[in-house]
Amino acid sequence: MTYKGFMFKKGETGLHKLDPRVKFLISLSFVVCSLLFEELVVLAVLTLAMVPLASRGGVLKEWLSTLRGLAFLAVLIFAINLVFIFFGSGKSWEFPAAMALRFVVVVSSFSLFFLVTAPDEFGLALQQSRIPFDVVFALTMAFRFVPVLALEVQSIADAQRSKGLELDSGNLIMRIKRRIPLLIPLIVSSVKRSLEIAEAMEARGYGSGNPRTSLYKLKFRRVDLAVTVLTLAVLASAVYFRLYLPIPVCLGF
Protein backbone atom coordinates (compact mmCIF):
# COMPACT_ATOMS: atom_id res chain seq x y z
CA MET A 1 0.00 0.00 0.00
CA THR A 2 1.44 3.33 -0.99
CA TYR A 3 -0.17 5.10 1.93
CA LYS A 4 2.13 3.20 4.25
CA GLY A 5 4.89 5.36 2.90
CA PHE A 6 3.26 8.43 4.37
CA MET A 7 2.27 7.15 7.77
CA PHE A 8 4.35 8.13 10.75
CA LYS A 9 6.54 5.36 12.10
CA LYS A 10 7.44 5.70 15.75
CA GLY A 11 11.12 5.83 16.56
CA GLU A 12 13.88 7.35 18.63
CA THR A 13 16.37 8.04 15.85
CA GLY A 14 18.32 11.24 15.37
CA LEU A 15 16.08 12.10 12.49
CA HIS A 16 12.98 11.64 14.62
CA LYS A 17 14.32 13.89 17.30
CA LEU A 18 14.95 16.82 15.03
CA ASP A 19 12.58 19.74 15.23
CA PRO A 20 9.79 19.17 12.69
CA ARG A 21 10.46 22.57 11.15
CA VAL A 22 14.01 21.48 10.38
CA LYS A 23 12.76 18.25 8.87
CA PHE A 24 10.37 20.23 6.75
CA LEU A 25 13.23 22.44 5.61
CA ILE A 26 15.20 19.38 4.58
CA SER A 27 12.32 18.01 2.53
CA LEU A 28 11.67 21.39 1.03
CA SER A 29 15.35 21.66 0.06
CA PHE A 30 15.14 18.39 -1.79
CA VAL A 31 12.16 19.73 -3.67
CA VAL A 32 13.84 23.05 -4.49
CA CYS A 33 16.99 21.31 -5.66
CA SER A 34 14.99 19.02 -7.87
CA LEU A 35 13.33 22.02 -9.44
CA LEU A 36 16.61 23.80 -9.97
CA PHE A 37 18.15 21.04 -12.01
CA GLU A 38 17.08 19.14 -15.05
CA GLU A 39 20.14 16.99 -15.27
CA LEU A 40 19.42 13.30 -14.78
CA VAL A 41 22.56 12.67 -12.79
CA VAL A 42 21.74 15.39 -10.29
CA LEU A 43 18.20 14.17 -9.84
CA ALA A 44 19.44 10.62 -9.40
CA VAL A 45 21.91 11.82 -6.80
CA LEU A 46 19.14 13.63 -4.98
CA THR A 47 17.04 10.49 -4.86
CA LEU A 48 19.95 8.41 -3.67
CA ALA A 49 20.81 11.02 -1.04
CA MET A 50 17.52 10.23 0.66
CA VAL A 51 18.47 6.62 1.13
CA PRO A 52 20.94 7.15 3.99
CA LEU A 53 18.46 9.56 5.59
CA ALA A 54 15.63 7.04 5.38
CA SER A 55 17.93 4.40 6.72
CA ARG A 56 19.03 6.61 9.60
CA GLY A 57 15.38 7.19 10.41
CA GLY A 58 14.66 3.48 10.41
CA VAL A 59 12.04 3.91 7.71
CA LEU A 60 13.91 2.61 4.67
CA LYS A 61 11.45 -0.17 3.96
CA GLU A 62 8.44 2.12 4.04
CA TRP A 63 10.19 4.78 1.98
CA LEU A 64 11.08 2.22 -0.66
CA SER A 65 7.45 1.16 -0.80
CA THR A 66 6.60 4.74 -1.72
CA LEU A 67 9.09 4.52 -4.58
CA ARG A 68 7.52 1.31 -5.74
CA GLY A 69 4.10 2.93 -5.64
CA LEU A 70 5.37 5.89 -7.61
CA ALA A 71 6.94 3.72 -10.29
CA PHE A 72 3.75 3.43 -12.31
CA LEU A 73 3.03 7.16 -12.26
CA ALA A 74 6.65 7.95 -13.03
CA VAL A 75 6.58 5.77 -16.11
CA LEU A 76 3.33 7.44 -17.13
CA ILE A 77 4.85 10.89 -16.79
CA PHE A 78 7.85 9.75 -18.78
CA ALA A 79 5.66 8.37 -21.56
CA ILE A 80 3.44 11.44 -21.82
CA ASN A 81 6.36 13.82 -21.88
CA LEU A 82 8.11 11.65 -24.46
CA VAL A 83 5.12 11.93 -26.76
CA PHE A 84 5.14 15.70 -26.45
CA ILE A 85 8.82 15.86 -27.35
CA PHE A 86 8.39 14.04 -30.58
CA PHE A 87 5.82 16.58 -31.57
CA GLY A 88 7.34 19.51 -29.77
CA SER A 89 10.52 21.02 -28.64
CA GLY A 90 12.83 18.39 -30.06
CA LYS A 91 14.77 17.82 -26.85
CA SER A 92 16.22 14.41 -26.31
CA TRP A 93 14.73 11.60 -24.24
CA GLU A 94 16.56 12.70 -21.14
CA PHE A 95 14.13 15.53 -20.60
CA PRO A 96 11.04 13.37 -19.98
CA ALA A 97 13.19 11.06 -17.89
CA ALA A 98 14.20 14.02 -15.80
CA MET A 99 10.56 15.09 -15.40
CA ALA A 100 9.68 11.66 -14.15
CA LEU A 101 12.61 11.59 -11.77
CA ARG A 102 11.82 15.06 -10.54
CA PHE A 103 8.31 13.87 -9.69
CA VAL A 104 9.80 10.97 -7.76
CA VAL A 105 12.13 13.24 -5.79
CA VAL A 106 9.36 15.63 -4.80
CA VAL A 107 6.90 12.99 -3.63
CA SER A 108 9.45 10.77 -1.95
CA SER A 109 10.96 13.66 -0.05
CA PHE A 110 7.56 14.37 1.46
CA SER A 111 7.09 10.69 2.12
CA LEU A 112 10.31 10.81 4.11
CA PHE A 113 9.08 13.83 6.01
CA PHE A 114 5.80 12.25 7.02
CA LEU A 115 7.46 8.98 7.92
CA VAL A 116 9.64 10.56 10.57
CA THR A 117 7.41 13.38 11.74
CA ALA A 118 4.55 12.65 14.14
CA PRO A 119 1.31 14.31 13.11
CA ASP A 120 0.96 16.23 16.33
CA GLU A 121 4.56 17.38 16.04
CA PHE A 122 3.73 18.57 12.58
CA GLY A 123 0.67 20.32 14.02
CA LEU A 124 2.79 22.01 16.67
CA ALA A 125 5.21 23.18 14.02
CA LEU A 126 2.39 24.76 12.06
CA GLN A 127 0.95 26.30 15.22
CA GLN A 128 4.23 27.86 16.20
CA SER A 129 4.57 29.16 12.68
CA ARG A 130 1.55 31.33 13.38
CA ILE A 131 -0.89 29.38 11.26
CA PRO A 132 -4.39 29.78 12.80
CA PHE A 133 -5.25 27.00 15.21
CA ASP A 134 -8.49 26.11 13.46
CA VAL A 135 -6.59 25.23 10.30
CA VAL A 136 -3.91 23.29 12.14
CA PHE A 137 -6.50 21.42 14.15
CA ALA A 138 -8.48 20.43 11.08
CA LEU A 139 -5.30 19.13 9.47
CA THR A 140 -4.10 17.09 12.42
CA MET A 141 -7.57 15.69 12.96
CA ALA A 142 -7.56 14.43 9.39
CA PHE A 143 -4.36 12.52 10.14
CA ARG A 144 -5.69 11.35 13.42
CA PHE A 145 -8.82 9.82 12.00
CA VAL A 146 -7.63 8.27 8.76
CA PRO A 147 -6.76 4.99 10.53
CA VAL A 148 -10.13 5.14 12.29
CA LEU A 149 -11.92 5.53 8.97
CA ALA A 150 -9.93 2.66 7.51
CA LEU A 151 -11.12 0.42 10.32
CA GLU A 152 -14.65 1.60 9.82
CA VAL A 153 -14.70 0.80 6.14
CA GLN A 154 -13.55 -2.68 7.08
CA SER A 155 -16.36 -3.03 9.59
CA ILE A 156 -18.92 -1.76 7.09
CA ALA A 157 -17.61 -4.09 4.41
CA ASP A 158 -17.93 -7.00 6.84
CA ALA A 159 -21.55 -6.17 7.55
CA GLN A 160 -22.48 -5.80 3.89
CA ARG A 161 -20.58 -8.85 2.77
CA SER A 162 -22.50 -10.76 5.40
CA LYS A 163 -25.63 -9.71 3.56
CA GLY A 164 -24.44 -11.29 0.37
CA LEU A 165 -22.71 -8.30 -1.19
CA GLU A 166 -19.99 -9.48 -3.55
CA LEU A 167 -17.14 -7.03 -3.53
CA ASP A 168 -14.50 -9.00 -5.34
CA SER A 169 -16.14 -9.72 -8.66
CA GLY A 170 -17.64 -7.96 -11.64
CA ASN A 171 -16.42 -5.38 -14.11
CA LEU A 172 -15.32 -1.89 -13.16
CA ILE A 173 -18.75 -0.28 -13.29
CA MET A 174 -20.30 -3.07 -11.25
CA ARG A 175 -17.52 -2.84 -8.70
CA ILE A 176 -18.11 0.85 -8.26
CA LYS A 177 -21.87 0.39 -7.94
CA ARG A 178 -21.36 -2.34 -5.39
CA ARG A 179 -19.41 0.01 -3.20
CA ILE A 180 -22.29 2.40 -2.63
CA PRO A 181 -23.50 0.37 0.38
CA LEU A 182 -20.03 1.01 1.81
CA LEU A 183 -19.83 4.67 1.05
CA ILE A 184 -23.11 5.81 2.54
CA PRO A 185 -22.68 4.28 6.00
CA LEU A 186 -19.13 5.64 6.02
CA ILE A 187 -20.30 9.14 5.28
CA VAL A 188 -23.14 8.93 7.79
CA SER A 189 -20.82 7.57 10.42
CA SER A 190 -18.24 10.24 9.75
CA VAL A 191 -20.79 13.00 10.01
CA LYS A 192 -22.03 11.55 13.28
CA ARG A 193 -18.50 11.31 14.59
CA SER A 194 -17.74 14.89 13.58
CA LEU A 195 -20.80 16.06 15.45
CA GLU A 196 -19.84 14.17 18.59
CA ILE A 197 -16.30 15.47 18.46
CA ALA A 198 -17.54 19.01 17.96
CA GLU A 199 -19.78 18.64 20.99
CA ALA A 200 -16.91 17.34 23.07
CA MET A 201 -14.74 20.22 21.92
CA GLU A 202 -17.34 22.82 22.82
CA ALA A 203 -17.86 21.14 26.16
CA ARG A 204 -14.16 21.69 26.79
CA GLY A 205 -14.09 25.36 26.08
CA TYR A 206 -13.22 25.47 22.40
CA GLY A 207 -13.88 28.88 20.98
CA SER A 208 -13.61 30.62 24.31
CA GLY A 209 -12.19 33.66 22.64
CA ASN A 210 -9.16 33.65 24.93
CA PRO A 211 -5.79 33.39 23.20
CA ARG A 212 -4.89 29.77 23.06
CA THR A 213 -1.94 28.37 25.01
CA SER A 214 -0.14 25.08 24.53
CA LEU A 215 1.12 22.43 26.91
CA TYR A 216 3.91 21.40 24.60
CA LYS A 217 6.34 23.74 22.96
CA LEU A 218 8.85 22.84 20.29
CA LYS A 219 12.38 23.49 21.41
CA PHE A 220 15.01 24.44 18.91
CA ARG A 221 18.21 22.75 20.03
CA ARG A 222 21.79 23.15 18.93
CA VAL A 223 21.54 20.11 16.76
CA ASP A 224 18.54 21.65 15.04
CA LEU A 225 20.46 24.85 14.42
CA ALA A 226 23.43 22.93 13.06
CA VAL A 227 21.32 20.91 10.66
CA THR A 228 19.49 24.05 9.53
CA VAL A 229 22.74 25.83 8.76
CA LEU A 230 24.02 22.77 6.91
CA THR A 231 20.86 22.44 4.87
CA LEU A 232 20.82 26.11 3.97
CA ALA A 233 24.47 25.87 2.99
CA VAL A 234 23.75 22.95 0.69
CA LEU A 235 20.81 24.85 -0.76
CA ALA A 236 22.91 27.93 -1.32
CA SER A 237 25.58 25.89 -3.06
CA ALA A 238 22.97 24.30 -5.26
CA VAL A 239 21.71 27.71 -6.34
CA TYR A 240 25.26 28.84 -6.95
CA PHE A 241 26.00 25.78 -9.08
CA ARG A 242 22.88 26.31 -11.08
CA LEU A 243 23.53 29.89 -11.81
CA TYR A 244 27.26 29.97 -12.34
CA LEU A 245 28.74 26.62 -13.13
CA PRO A 246 28.03 24.51 -16.15
CA ILE A 247 27.64 20.92 -15.22
CA PRO A 248 30.14 18.89 -17.21
CA VAL A 249 30.22 15.19 -17.66
CA CYS A 250 26.49 14.67 -17.03
CA LEU A 251 23.93 14.16 -19.62
CA GLY A 252 23.20 17.76 -20.42
CA PHE A 253 21.13 18.73 -23.41
Partner: protein, 275 residues
Protein backbone atom coordinates in the same frame (compact mmCIF):
# COMPACT_ATOMS: atom_id res chain seq x y z
CA UNK B 1 -24.01 -27.97 12.95
CA UNK B 2 -21.18 -25.46 13.11
CA UNK B 3 -17.93 -26.94 14.29
CA UNK B 4 -14.92 -24.99 15.45
CA UNK B 5 -11.91 -27.26 15.82
CA UNK B 6 -9.05 -25.77 17.76
CA UNK B 7 -9.46 -22.45 16.02
CA UNK B 8 -6.69 -19.95 16.39
CA UNK B 9 -6.64 -16.49 14.92
CA UNK B 10 -3.83 -13.98 14.80
CA UNK B 11 -4.54 -10.51 13.44
CA UNK B 12 -2.13 -9.13 10.80
CA UNK B 13 -0.64 -6.84 13.42
CA UNK B 14 0.30 -9.84 15.55
CA UNK B 15 -2.46 -9.80 18.14
CA UNK B 16 -3.55 -13.32 19.11
CA UNK B 17 -7.30 -13.00 19.31
CA UNK B 18 -8.22 -16.68 19.46
CA UNK B 19 -6.09 -19.41 20.94
CA UNK B 20 -7.56 -22.78 20.32
CA UNK B 21 -11.33 -22.50 20.47
CA UNK B 22 -13.25 -25.74 20.06
CA UNK B 23 -17.03 -25.57 19.98
CA UNK B 24 -19.90 -27.46 18.44
CA UNK B 25 -22.95 -25.30 17.88
CA UNK B 26 -26.40 -26.42 16.89
CA UNK B 27 -26.65 -29.85 18.40
CA UNK B 28 -27.92 -28.88 21.78
CA UNK B 29 -29.77 -25.69 21.12
CA UNK B 30 -28.80 -22.08 21.14
CA UNK B 31 -25.67 -20.51 22.51
CA UNK B 32 -24.68 -17.30 24.25
CA UNK B 33 -21.03 -16.33 23.94
CA UNK B 34 -19.99 -14.11 26.81
CA UNK B 35 -16.85 -12.46 28.03
CA UNK B 36 -15.19 -9.13 28.49
CA UNK B 37 -14.64 -6.72 25.62
CA UNK B 38 -11.50 -7.76 23.82
CA UNK B 39 -11.77 -11.42 24.80
CA UNK B 40 -12.30 -12.34 21.16
CA UNK B 41 -16.08 -12.64 20.92
CA UNK B 42 -16.55 -10.57 17.77
CA UNK B 43 -13.50 -12.19 16.18
CA UNK B 44 -15.08 -15.55 16.90
CA UNK B 45 -18.40 -14.84 15.25
CA UNK B 46 -16.69 -13.49 12.15
CA UNK B 47 -15.35 -16.98 11.67
CA UNK B 48 -18.84 -18.39 11.49
CA UNK B 49 -19.60 -17.01 8.05
CA UNK B 50 -16.11 -16.91 6.67
CA UNK B 51 -15.38 -13.21 7.10
CA UNK B 52 -12.29 -14.36 8.88
CA UNK B 53 -10.56 -17.64 8.13
CA UNK B 54 -8.72 -19.26 11.02
CA UNK B 55 -4.94 -18.99 11.01
CA UNK B 56 -4.90 -22.40 12.64
CA UNK B 57 -7.57 -25.01 13.10
CA UNK B 58 -10.76 -25.38 11.11
CA UNK B 59 -14.32 -24.11 10.97
CA UNK B 60 -17.03 -26.11 9.23
CA UNK B 61 -20.63 -25.09 8.66
CA UNK B 62 -22.81 -28.13 8.02
CA UNK B 63 -19.75 -29.95 6.84
CA UNK B 64 -18.43 -27.19 4.59
CA UNK B 65 -15.00 -25.84 5.44
CA UNK B 66 -15.26 -22.04 5.61
CA UNK B 67 -11.99 -21.75 3.72
CA UNK B 68 -13.66 -23.37 0.75
CA UNK B 69 -16.69 -21.16 0.43
CA UNK B 70 -17.33 -17.46 -0.08
CA UNK B 71 -18.76 -15.20 2.58
CA UNK B 72 -21.90 -14.76 0.49
CA UNK B 73 -22.39 -18.53 0.25
CA UNK B 74 -21.89 -19.07 3.95
CA UNK B 75 -24.00 -16.08 4.91
CA UNK B 76 -26.98 -17.72 3.26
CA UNK B 77 -26.89 -20.20 6.13
CA UNK B 78 -25.24 -18.11 8.83
CA UNK B 79 -26.80 -14.68 9.18
CA UNK B 80 -24.86 -12.24 11.33
CA UNK B 81 -26.50 -9.13 12.77
CA UNK B 82 -23.66 -6.82 13.68
CA UNK B 83 -23.68 -4.52 16.62
CA UNK B 84 -23.62 -1.13 14.99
CA UNK B 85 -26.57 -0.43 12.69
CA UNK B 86 -24.86 2.77 11.53
CA UNK B 87 -22.32 0.56 9.79
CA UNK B 88 -24.95 -1.07 7.62
CA UNK B 89 -27.90 1.18 6.81
CA UNK B 90 -27.63 2.85 3.45
CA UNK B 91 -30.81 2.42 1.43
CA UNK B 92 -33.35 5.11 0.67
CA UNK B 93 -36.20 3.35 2.42
CA UNK B 94 -36.53 0.72 5.11
CA UNK B 95 -38.18 -1.51 2.54
CA UNK B 96 -35.19 -1.34 0.21
CA UNK B 97 -32.83 -1.92 3.10
CA UNK B 98 -34.63 -5.16 3.91
CA UNK B 99 -34.83 -6.20 0.27
CA UNK B 100 -31.09 -5.65 -0.27
CA UNK B 101 -29.78 -9.00 1.03
CA UNK B 102 -32.70 -10.82 -0.55
CA UNK B 103 -31.71 -9.40 -3.92
CA UNK B 104 -28.08 -10.31 -3.30
CA UNK B 105 -29.05 -13.88 -2.53
CA UNK B 106 -31.10 -14.10 -5.69
CA UNK B 107 -34.59 -14.47 -4.27
CA UNK B 108 -37.34 -14.05 -6.88
CA UNK B 109 -39.23 -10.76 -6.87
CA UNK B 110 -42.46 -12.12 -5.38
CA UNK B 111 -40.57 -13.89 -2.59
CA UNK B 112 -38.83 -10.65 -1.80
CA UNK B 113 -42.17 -8.92 -1.51
CA UNK B 114 -43.71 -11.52 0.77
CA UNK B 115 -40.71 -11.76 3.03
CA UNK B 116 -40.36 -8.01 3.30
CA UNK B 117 -44.00 -7.73 4.38
CA UNK B 118 -43.56 -10.52 6.91
CA UNK B 119 -40.45 -9.12 8.49
CA UNK B 120 -41.76 -5.54 8.63
CA UNK B 121 -44.76 -6.86 10.51
CA UNK B 122 -42.66 -9.04 12.77
CA UNK B 123 -40.45 -6.19 13.91
CA UNK B 124 -43.20 -3.64 14.11
CA UNK B 125 -41.70 -1.53 11.35
CA UNK B 126 -44.55 -1.42 8.85
CA UNK B 127 -45.29 2.23 9.47
CA UNK B 128 -41.67 3.08 8.67
CA UNK B 129 -41.48 1.16 5.44
CA UNK B 130 -41.13 4.22 3.23
CA UNK B 131 -38.98 6.17 5.68
CA UNK B 132 -35.27 6.55 5.33
CA UNK B 133 -33.59 4.12 7.72
CA UNK B 134 -31.24 6.92 8.72
CA UNK B 135 -34.11 8.95 10.14
CA UNK B 136 -35.05 6.36 12.74
CA UNK B 137 -34.13 6.24 16.40
CA UNK B 138 -31.27 4.04 17.65
CA UNK B 139 -33.53 1.24 18.80
CA UNK B 140 -35.53 1.29 15.59
CA UNK B 141 -32.34 1.16 13.53
CA UNK B 142 -31.32 -1.93 15.43
CA UNK B 143 -34.65 -3.53 14.56
CA UNK B 144 -34.20 -2.70 10.88
CA UNK B 145 -30.74 -4.25 10.96
CA UNK B 146 -32.12 -7.38 12.58
CA UNK B 147 -35.11 -7.49 10.24
CA UNK B 148 -32.89 -7.39 7.19
CA UNK B 149 -31.02 -10.49 8.36
CA UNK B 150 -34.03 -12.44 9.61
CA UNK B 151 -35.67 -11.87 6.22
CA UNK B 152 -33.64 -14.56 4.54
CA UNK B 153 -34.31 -17.00 7.40
CA UNK B 154 -30.77 -18.24 7.94
CA UNK B 155 -30.40 -21.58 9.64
CA UNK B 156 -28.09 -20.00 12.17
CA UNK B 157 -28.89 -16.49 13.39
CA UNK B 158 -25.91 -14.79 14.98
CA UNK B 159 -26.40 -11.56 16.93
CA UNK B 160 -23.73 -9.27 18.32
CA UNK B 161 -25.02 -7.54 21.47
CA UNK B 162 -28.70 -7.56 20.54
CA UNK B 163 -29.91 -6.07 23.81
CA UNK B 164 -27.69 -2.98 23.98
CA UNK B 165 -29.89 0.03 24.47
CA UNK B 166 -33.13 -1.96 24.32
CA UNK B 167 -35.76 -1.52 27.00
CA UNK B 168 -37.48 -4.37 28.84
CA UNK B 169 -40.37 -4.54 26.41
CA UNK B 170 -38.14 -4.91 23.37
CA UNK B 171 -36.07 -7.54 25.14
CA UNK B 172 -39.26 -9.49 25.75
CA UNK B 173 -40.16 -9.34 22.08
CA UNK B 174 -36.68 -10.42 21.21
CA UNK B 175 -37.02 -13.46 23.42
CA UNK B 176 -40.30 -14.29 21.72
CA UNK B 177 -38.65 -13.98 18.36
CA UNK B 178 -35.90 -16.33 19.48
CA UNK B 179 -38.43 -18.90 20.61
CA UNK B 180 -40.25 -18.72 17.31
CA UNK B 181 -36.99 -19.10 15.42
CA UNK B 182 -35.84 -22.04 17.48
CA UNK B 183 -39.26 -23.63 17.11
CA UNK B 184 -38.56 -23.80 13.38
CA UNK B 185 -35.42 -25.76 14.02
CA UNK B 186 -33.00 -22.86 13.73
CA UNK B 187 -30.19 -22.00 16.08
CA UNK B 188 -29.51 -18.68 17.74
CA UNK B 189 -25.98 -17.65 18.62
CA UNK B 190 -25.62 -14.43 20.52
CA UNK B 191 -22.68 -12.48 21.81
CA UNK B 192 -23.71 -10.55 24.85
CA UNK B 193 -22.78 -9.42 28.29
CA UNK B 194 -26.38 -9.08 29.39
CA UNK B 195 -26.39 -11.79 32.01
CA UNK B 196 -30.01 -11.32 33.00
CA UNK B 197 -31.23 -11.62 29.43
CA UNK B 198 -29.18 -14.74 28.83
CA UNK B 199 -30.55 -16.29 31.99
CA UNK B 200 -34.08 -15.54 30.89
CA UNK B 201 -33.45 -17.06 27.46
CA UNK B 202 -32.04 -20.17 29.02
CA UNK B 203 -29.38 -20.69 26.33
CA UNK B 204 -26.19 -22.63 26.78
CA UNK B 205 -23.31 -20.37 27.70
CA UNK B 206 -19.71 -20.32 26.51
CA UNK B 207 -17.42 -18.03 28.44
CA UNK B 208 -14.58 -16.58 26.44
CA UNK B 209 -11.53 -15.46 28.38
CA UNK B 210 -8.38 -14.32 26.56
CA UNK B 211 -9.28 -16.06 23.34
CA UNK B 212 -10.13 -19.42 24.88
CA UNK B 213 -13.35 -21.01 26.04
CA UNK B 214 -12.93 -21.04 29.80
CA UNK B 215 -16.29 -22.65 30.54
CA UNK B 216 -19.17 -24.20 28.66
CA UNK B 217 -22.49 -25.30 30.10
CA UNK B 218 -26.10 -24.43 30.70
CA UNK B 219 -27.13 -20.95 31.77
CA UNK B 220 -28.01 -22.33 35.18
CA UNK B 221 -24.57 -23.77 35.77
CA UNK B 222 -22.48 -20.96 34.42
CA UNK B 223 -24.35 -17.82 35.39
CA UNK B 224 -24.63 -18.71 39.04
CA UNK B 225 -20.92 -19.36 39.38
CA UNK B 226 -19.65 -16.01 40.62
CA UNK B 227 -15.98 -16.94 40.23
CA UNK B 228 -16.35 -17.84 36.57
CA UNK B 229 -18.34 -14.70 35.91
CA UNK B 230 -15.76 -12.48 37.52
CA UNK B 231 -13.04 -14.02 35.41
CA UNK B 232 -15.05 -13.13 32.34
CA UNK B 233 -15.72 -9.61 33.58
CA UNK B 234 -19.45 -10.22 33.94
CA UNK B 235 -21.78 -9.31 36.75
CA UNK B 236 -24.11 -11.95 38.13
CA UNK B 237 -27.80 -11.11 37.87
CA UNK B 238 -29.15 -9.50 41.00
CA UNK B 239 -31.33 -12.48 41.84
CA UNK B 240 -28.37 -14.83 41.67
CA UNK B 241 -26.33 -12.48 43.85
CA UNK B 242 -29.20 -12.26 46.30
CA UNK B 243 -29.56 -15.98 46.71
CA UNK B 244 -25.86 -16.40 47.03
CA UNK B 245 -26.02 -14.14 50.06
CA UNK B 246 -28.73 -16.39 51.41
CA UNK B 247 -26.48 -19.41 51.00
CA UNK B 248 -27.03 -20.55 54.51
CA UNK B 249 -30.69 -21.10 53.69
CA UNK B 250 -29.95 -23.80 51.13
CA UNK B 251 -30.18 -21.46 48.14
CA UNK B 252 -30.31 -22.59 44.51
CA UNK B 253 -29.30 -20.71 41.38
CA UNK B 254 -32.26 -18.46 40.68
CA UNK B 255 -32.33 -15.80 37.97
CA UNK B 256 -35.74 -14.31 37.50
CA UNK B 257 -37.95 -12.44 39.89
CA UNK B 258 -40.72 -14.99 39.33
CA UNK B 259 -38.45 -17.89 40.25
CA UNK B 260 -37.29 -16.03 43.33
CA UNK B 261 -40.80 -15.31 44.47
CA UNK B 262 -41.84 -18.93 44.07
CA UNK B 263 -38.82 -20.16 45.96
CA UNK B 264 -39.31 -17.79 48.86
CA UNK B 265 -42.98 -18.64 49.15
CA UNK B 266 -42.14 -22.32 49.16
CA UNK B 267 -39.67 -21.76 51.96
CA UNK B 268 -42.18 -19.86 54.00
CA UNK B 269 -44.70 -22.60 53.62
CA UNK B 270 -42.22 -25.31 54.47
CA UNK B 271 -40.79 -23.35 57.37
CA UNK B 272 -37.26 -22.04 57.07
CA UNK B 273 -34.16 -23.37 58.81
CA UNK B 274 -32.41 -21.38 61.41
CA UNK B 275 -29.18 -19.78 60.07
Amino acid sequence: MIKLENVGYVYPGGVKALRGVSLTIGEKGSLAIMGRSGAGKTTLIKHLNGLLKPTSGKVTVDGVDTRKATVAQLSRKVGIVFQNPDHQLFAETVEEEIAFPLKNFGFPQDEIKTRTEWVLELFNLTRYRHHSPLSLSGGEKKRVAMASVVSWKPKYLVLDEPTLGQDRENKLRLRELFEEFMGEGRTIIMVTHDVEFTAECGFNVALLVDGKVSALGSAQEILSNVELLKEASLAAPQMAELFLELEGMGAQPVFTVEEAERLILSWLMAGAEKP
